[in-house]
């Protein structure tokens, strides 16, 4: 009903519509130009793959790892969370936090952090496969061997 009415009006309004579309007032559809937000949204997968870690993030991540190795897990966690607040989409930080939880024998948390790392990691990246391996290990530790096996077989 409404659609039919719209079709009727459409003829009358076609001219204005054309003019207005030219002025860019109407929401754009069809061929998207690089400036439109939708383009940002869609190209992110590739953008993500090409991203370079910020030196600040890289430095804090390294610092966090060193602290973990030095047996100072609390300090390591604080440092990694600083890194995370600077670059919350960096899967390596989430993975490192997962490692930290794993080292503290907190398997469910380790699993969750590793899952987050996996969700942010680009396909076929080493971070992703490391995350999957860690999820599987954490599942094993929780007595969920079946899920762990299945995950290792799928490998993603």
């Amino acid at each position: 009903m409404a659609e039919r009415r719209l079709e009727l009006i459409s003829g009358l309004l076609l001219l204005q519509a054309g003019l207005l579309a030219g002025c860019g007032v109407l929401p754009t559809t069809g061929e998207v130009t690089p400036q439109t937000p939708s383009e940002d949204y869609r190209t992110v997968a590739t953008e993500h793959r090409d991203r370079v870690m910020n030196p600040a993030t890289a430095s804090l991540l390294e610092q966090g790892r060193a602290l973990r190795r030095a047996g100072r897990p609390d300090q390591a966690a604080v440092t990694l969370e600083r890194a995370l607040r600077i670059d919350p989409n960096e899967p390596e930080i989430w993975l490192e936090l997962a490692e930290l939880r794993y080292a503290a024998a907190d398997w469910p948390e380790a699993e969750q952090f590793a899952r987050r790392a996996r969700s942010l990691a680009p396909a076929d990246s080493p971070v992703r496969s490391n995350a999957v391996a860690l999820i599987a290990d954490a599942l094993d530790r929780q007595g969920r061997q079946l899920e762990a096996e299945r995950l290792r077989e799928q490998g993603v």
Binding site: S10, L20, V44, A56
Partner: protein, 786 residues
């Protein structure tokens, strides 16, 4: 006294009998004896009784004053800090924002290169600064000299001394304290942190003979009395610093003789027990120096933060002199309200300091030429955040008793972002003013929550349009119907069922829902029109009620409430069909929690204001780490979020017009009682609520009320486009927005959607390009006409 006075020389037997009669009044005869003595020496006995009473009184005073001085020392309110601003190359920050942060931290502008902590120099886009030393939860960061330059995208380069990591924390801003209900707030300073100029200045201005007298100074009392007698009024106080301290302890401003006497006695007692240095240090921390709403500013440590936003040890002579000037009348000499008066008094203090030999003439002269230099609290936004502090208190309530918070001097590190908070406060106030001007009704109320969804940090919280107002905190307390904000949950439940994709079709046609109570529920669309067969994408983007109800009933209201709980709603609403259109109440903070799970691709990250707590000595006590748990499949949430991005591009949120991709949803409750907007970019999430406290209609929809405010806050605070990586099991396809059919690149109404790999879009319907144009034109006309 006994009613019958015993007669003298009573026969022994009779006396014995009398004693018997007065059993139970054993002291009778003793009193009688003393009564005899009393009668013989009335004055002596009166004096003795007086002496005993006075001694008791002295003991009482002694107990009162020493327990106050010794036992309590001070209740140390917990100090609450904002997040530290992390400086690094690549940080998307405007030079003006850095400068604002530095000013709020009380960093001093210097002409040459910065030479000590807490100073900076700006030359256009280049900043040089030396950070203050600060003890964070994890480490003590020494003062670091930093040079940084801004480019178009924020900080382009950052130089630190070799060996330091390329990321430096500024000291966090002191944003409030949790003081006891009596309102006394203070920041206690150790004797080493008190500049000697302040000590000496106080002595020459307030109590020249401080080091000589024993608590009370008869000479200055006499002088004051003489001056007052000549002036015919109380023009001068002869109180010593010790007396002033006593007076402050008991906060009694009545000028009665007995109070004066009590004060003097207590001053004597204080001087008897403690040395001058202890008393002066107590004075520096105790004295009342101003009022900020319900908060009473006590001590020079807090007054320094309050008036200059910097530590006491960093104050210069003219600033110290102003604080000394305030002692005489914090309200009368308030530098913000009475700058001239304050300046005159400050200059007098400088003169007295010069005459007293504390400073030389040159120093006094140059200090007199300085402006008051008080920190402009008004220009920098509120200096005190009651709404945010309420959340801090709530979070700590499970681990700390309220007296621990108001007494133990804890330091609480929070996620509060003063820049985001300032934006949220200003945008809400301005937005509501604007809306009020257009409507002829009672003033609107509003609330804002801004978070960093990935870490769960609550960055800003506004519970009232008046910033700094300590009242009904709507962000935490106002439980309001959410209207269409619920719809994403309905659609996610549908996507989770596996029976729908975003390109699936559903009928947007009138629906009658029989309810258990025998009535029939007949919802309608917002536009009062129906659209027939529509895609889920369109139904969500354009917030079509009938399609949503049909979809929700198909997947089951129970599935929706179950999902709502997973996403972070902590209540269990009744699974009634009306819930599908948002007949469920949430606070703005709860909405932020639920939408946070959507922003995090299905991972639930608990929202937190407090990051860590250390004790008064800086020893770590508690840390509140980032937590995360998967609540929904990232692929389902990714699909859903495409709908919320589309809503911002062509649906109910399109008027936001932000330069980066965002996902969001409007919410309007029945009869326009609530106007909501909730949405997120890649790095920020904001929720805005507008309504009336008495639930009367506002006449505003989500997009006409809350959306413009939301959009301005996002423009101020968000930097990253929303764009999560596409989950592997979704494949990008081009489908028609209206029919959901697979279409080619030539189709005008086609949109690119990532859909589950196995789910082939239907062929039926094809490209509806023309109808699309007509409809969009109609929408546009609607926009213009409205």
């Amino acid at each position: 006294m006994p009613s019958k006075r015993p007669r003298k020389r009573r026969p022994t037997r009779k006396r014995h009998a009398a004693r018997k009669r007065r059993r139970g009044r054993k002291r009778g005869p003793a009193r009688a004896r003393r009564g005899g003595w009393l009668r013989r020496h009335p004055w002596w006995s009166l004096a003795a009784a007086g002496l005993v009473l006075f001694a008791a009184y002295l003991l009482f005073l002694n107990w009162q004053i020493t327990s106050r001085f010794e036992g309590r020392r001070w209740d140390l309110p917990a100090r609450v800090y904002s997040r530290p601003l992390e400086l690094y190359a690549g940080l998307d920050l405007r030079p003006a924002d850095l400068e604002l942060e530095l000013r709020r931290l009380g960093y001093r502008v210097v002409a040459g290169p910065p030479d000590r902590p807490g100073t900076y120099r700006r030359r256009g886009r280049v900043f040089e600064l030396i950070t203050r030393e600060f003890r964070f939860w994890d480490e003590r960061q020494p003062p670091v000299p930093v040079a940084l330059s801004f480019g178009p995208g924020g900080i382009a380069s950052l130089t630190v001394p070799p060996g330091r990591p390329p990321v430096v924390r500024l000291d966090p801003l002191l944003v409030g304290s949790i003081f006891p209900s009596h309102g006394e707030d203070r920041l206690v300073v150790a004797p080493a942190q008190v500049p000697s100029l302040l000590r000496d200045g106080l002595v020459v201005v307030e109590d020249r003979r401080f080091y000589e007298h024993a608590g009370v100074d008869p000479r200055s009392l006499a002088r004051a009395a003489w001056t007052n007698l000549r002036a015919g009024e109380v023009a001068q106080g002869g109180s010593t610093l010790t007396q002033q301290l006593v007076k402050n302890y008991f906060l009694d401003n009545r000028r009665t003789l007995t109070r004066k006497l009590r004060e003097a006695l207590m001053a004597f007692i204080l001087e008897w027990h403690y040395d001058k240095a202890d008393i002066l240090n107590a004075y520096v921390n105790e004295i009342y120096l101003g009022q900020d709403g319900q908060r009473a500013i006590h001590g020079f440590g807090l007054a320094s933060q309050f008036h200059f936003s910097r530590p006491l040890a960093e104050l210069e002579l003219h600033e110290l002199a102003l604080l000394i000037a305030l002692v005489r009348g914090p309200a009368w000499y308030d530098p913000l309200r009475h700058p001239e008066r304050a300046r005159a008094r400050r200059d007098l203090v400088l003169t007295l300091m010069e005459e007293g030999g504390v400073i030389n003439g040159a120093a006094a002269g140059s200090a007199r030429r300085r402006d008051l230099d008080t920190w402009d609290r008004a220009a920098a936004g509120a200096s005190y955040y009651p709404a945010y502090l309420a959340l801090v208190r709530r979070e700590l309530a499970s681990q700390y008793r309220s007296q621990d918070l108001s007494r133990e001097g804890l330091r609480i590190f929070t996620a509060l972002d003063p820049l985001a908070q300032a934006s949220a406060e200003r945008r809400l106030a301005e937005g509501l003013d604007e809306l009020d001007r257009r409507r002829d009704a009672a003033p609107l109320a509003g609330a804002v929550v801004v978070t960093a969804p990935r870490s769960g940090d609550v960055l800003a919280l506004v519970g009232d349009r008046r910033a700094g107002y300590e009242g009904f905190n709507r962000a935490l307390e106002a439980r309001r119907p959410v209207g269409s904000l619920i719809k994403p949950v309905v659609y996610l439940a549908a996507l989770e069922s596996g029976r729908y994709t975003l390109a699936s079709r559903i009928d947007d046609a009138p629906i009658r829902v029989p309810l258990p109570n025998g009535t029939v529920w007949e919802p309608g669309n917002f536009s009062e029109e129906t659209s027939g067969q529509v895609t889920l994408l369109r139904a969500l983007a354009e917030s079509l009620n009938l399609a949503t109800v049909r979809l929700g009933l198909d997947v089951g209201v129970g599935a929706v409430t179950e999902l709502l709980a997973r996403l972070g709603f902590d209540d269990t609403p009744e699974p009634l069909p009306s819930l599908l259109l948002g007949a469920v109440e949430m606070t703005p903070l709860t909405v932020a929690r639920v939408y946070g799970t959507l922003a995090n691709d299905g991972f639930r990250v608990p929202l937190k204001a407090v990051r860590s707590v250390v004790n008064a000595e800086g020893v770590p006590l508690t840390r509140f780490p980032i937590e995360i748990s998967q609540a929904a499949d990232p692929a389902d949430v990714y699909q859903l979020n495409q709908g919320l991005v589309t809503a911002m591009q062509r649906g109910t949120g399109r008027s936001a017009e932000l330069p980066f991709a965002v996902a969001g949803k409007t919410g309007t409750s029945d009869d326009f009682r609530d106007s909501w907007f909730a949405g997120f970019s890649g790095d920020r999430l904001a929720v805005v609520w507008i309504g009336h406290d008495d639930f009367s209609p506002t006449g505003l929809s989500g997009s006409s009320g809350a959306l413009p405010i939301w959009s301005r806050i996002m423009r101020d605070t968000a930097r990253q486009s929303f764009g999560p990586p596409r989950p592997a099991r979704l494949v990008p396809q081009r489908v028609d927005y209206y029919s959901g059919a697979g279409v080619g690149r030539g189709c005008d109404s086609g949109v690119e959607l990532a859909l589950p790999a196995g789910a082939e879009p239907v062929r039926r319907g094809g490209c509806t390009g023309r109808a699309g144009i007509a409809e969009r034109t109609l929408e546009w006309l609607n926009d213009v006409l409205n």
